[in-house]
């Protein structure tokens, strides 16, 4: 790499990591100041773990993310299997388009549109508050599932279709053939898709903001409410923890992806050898 390239990359990465570095450093500051570092301490972390509202929000976020991940992984995997093999051209195009919508649409539109529908349906049944955990879960599954499909679909397309047929000829039911043949092959895709869904759900603010009632507060909504007033470094401590958790998840999914790719390469090489 040329020196000028190195300098430019350095500047860009400084720009990208400056705010994160500031957060990290000042979460360990003894004083409340966000510009002068006085002394290293875990004070704000201790305070964070004594804040029952934030801990409650953390619990809510995790429950929601786990539920959304499980549902969207199952729904998305089944959908990918269907899209991959469905014969009707029209159906396939329709499903691909509909999968793109939540990813292309601005979050605010997705959030508002779901909220309007929930409010309308709630009114129809005469419910006092129509936004609750269930509406949020529906919203999260809706925006997470397309990412699962996009991770699983390429894995299915790489597969040899005759393997499934062979399993069926040997007496497997379609479901059994799927469980024994396809599932092990596409598992890495499902796992990376699930991790993506989990992090997206953890991180989402805009859609949650519009589809959550007053009773169910997730962490990003809690952060939003905290930043309406002046913020204590407690929020920085929270940000630091979230940062390391998501970083770990990202690294795990990278490792899974790498191993999967390596295995694929190995198999191709073996195949070439046997073809000879």
């Amino acid at each position: 790499m040329k020196l000028s390239s190195k300098i430019y990359s350095g500047i860009i990465f400084c720009f990208l990591f400056a705010p994160i570095a500031v957060l990290l450093v000042f979460s360990f500051n003894e004083a409340k100041s966000l510009s002068v570092f006085s002394e290293f301490s875990f004070k704000w972390y201790k305070e964070l773990f004594n804040d029952s509202n934030t801990l409650g929000a953390l619990k809510n976020t995790l429950i929601l993310a786990v539920a959304a991940t499980v549902i969207s992984s199952i729904l998305g995997t089944a959908a990918a299997v269907g899209i991959n093999k469905i014969r009707s051209r029209w159906y396939k195009t329709a499903m691909n388009t509909v999968t793109d919508i939540p990813m292309v649409n601005p979050d605010i539109i997705t959030g508002i549109s779901l909220m309007l529908m929930f409010v309308f349906v709630g009114r129809l049944f005469g419910a006092a508050t129509s936004l609750n955990f269930a509406t949020m879960l529906i919203a999260h599954v809706t925006f997470c599932t397309p990412y699962v499909i996009l991770q699983v679909l390429p894995k299915l397309q790489q597969m040899d279709p005759s393997l499934h047929e062979a399993a069926m000829d040997l007496g497997c039911t379609p479901i059994k053939a799927f469980l024994k043949v396809e599932l092990p092959e596409i598992l890495p895709g499902i796992i990376t898709g699930a991790i993506m869904a989990f992090t997206l759900s953890l991180d989402d603010f805009v859609i949650s903001y519009f589809t959550s009632g007053t009773g169910f507060e997730t962490l990003p909504i809690r952060i939003y409410n905290m930043t309406k007033k002046t913020v204590t470094p407690k929020m920085y401590a929270l940000a630091t923890i979230i940062f390391f958790v998501t970083l770990t998840l990202l690294l795990i999914s990278n490792v899974i992806d790498n191993e999967d790719r390596r295995e694929l390469k190995e198999r191709k090489r073996l195949k070439r050898r046997t073809d000879k």
Partner: protein, 297 residues
């Protein structure tokens, strides 16, 4: 025998796709119809175009610099401001992102991987926190002004509450979305093309203009889309970094939602959706026209 098992398989694929099909109709398509429905109805769900008319005609007074007031069309002004700030942010993102994407694509495979991860890491930090962090950095009592003040005795720069701060926030938040698509196209590009162009007498700039840039156009276009759409519709960034002075279209939707004016909020969202669709169609038309030389595939 073979046929019946193939049929069975095909039916089970249909069954596998059914739940997601139903889900998509119920929670993707129908909600979008609800936006239009709310936009064109009043509180009693009777048809009206008042919400749309209100968007284009509502006025308010703003204070000029010389103390006089001026009557402006509130929401039209907000919309144009959103478009302007989003366009500037997108251009700045493109100018900053292209060189780094190019540098990444020419680096060693291992370095490439590390750099991609580094670009992605800030994306996994909640955008509220990222934005808030910039606010504390840029404040009059923030870290930059404190350092400048202590070292050089400078008066604090007032960055918060300017359009520059809002643009900075947008560029920062959406920068990775510009880098990654451009990088993925450039990384796949055949290096021999550059050598060939050089052999045929192209200078470095000429290679960039005539070979690299045109070939990377699909990445540039998807980068533009991925930055433009969220920055037009964002809220929060302008509230925090613009000090609430630069109301954007997202803020307008949010404030109507908070005020429980759902029909007007839907009207703004509806207009935003239409404008975005037109913009996307235009972008697609321009790409097929000028990038693929009119061969619309």
């Amino acid at each position: 025998m073979k046929n019946s098992s193939a049929l069975k398989t095909h039916n089970s694929y249909r069954a596998a796709l059914a739940p997601y099909s139903i889900w998509s109709v119920l929670f993707v398509i129908v909600p979008l119809i609800f936006i239009a429905f709310y936009a064109f109805t009043d509180n009693n769900f009777a048809f009206t175009t008042d919400n749309i008319t209100r968007f284009f005609t509502a006025t308010s007074n703003i204070l000029n610099d010389d103390g006089t007031t001026k009557e402006v069309r509130t929401y039209v002004l907000i919309f144009l401001r959103s478009l302007k700030l989003a366009a500037i942010s997108t251009v700045v993102c493109l100018i900053l992102a292209y060189p780094i994407a190019y540098i990444m694509s020419r680096a060693k495979p291992k370095t490439q991987k590390t750099m991609v991860t580094l670009i992605m890491i800030p994306m996994w930090m909640n955008f509220l926190i990222r934005t808030y962090a910039w606010m504390t950095i840029l404040q009059d009592s923030g870290i930059i002004n404190t350092i400048l003040g202590n070292l050089f005795g400078l008066e604090p720069f007032h960055v918060i509450g300017t359009e520059t701060a809002v643009i900075l926030g947008m560029v920062y938040d959406y920068f990775p979305y510009m880098v990654l698509p451009i990088y993925s196209i450039l990384a796949k590009m055949d290096g021999k093309l550059i050598e060939a162009a050089k052999d045929l007498g192209c200078g470095s700039f000429s290679v960039l203009r005539r070979v690299i840039f045109p070939l990377s156009m699909p990445g540039v276009i998807s980068g533009i889309t991925m930055v433009l759409i969220p920055s037009i519709s964002t809220f929060y960034i302008s509230q925090k970094l613009g000090n609430g002075k630069f109301f954007l279209i997202g803020d307008a939707i949010e404030s109507q939602y908070i005020a429980n004016n759902l029909h007007f909020a839907a009207a703004i969202a509806f207009i935003l959706m239409i404008i975005l669709l037109v913009m996307m169609a235009l972008l697609k038309y321009l790409t097929t026209r000028f990038v693929y030389g009119g061969d619309s595939r």
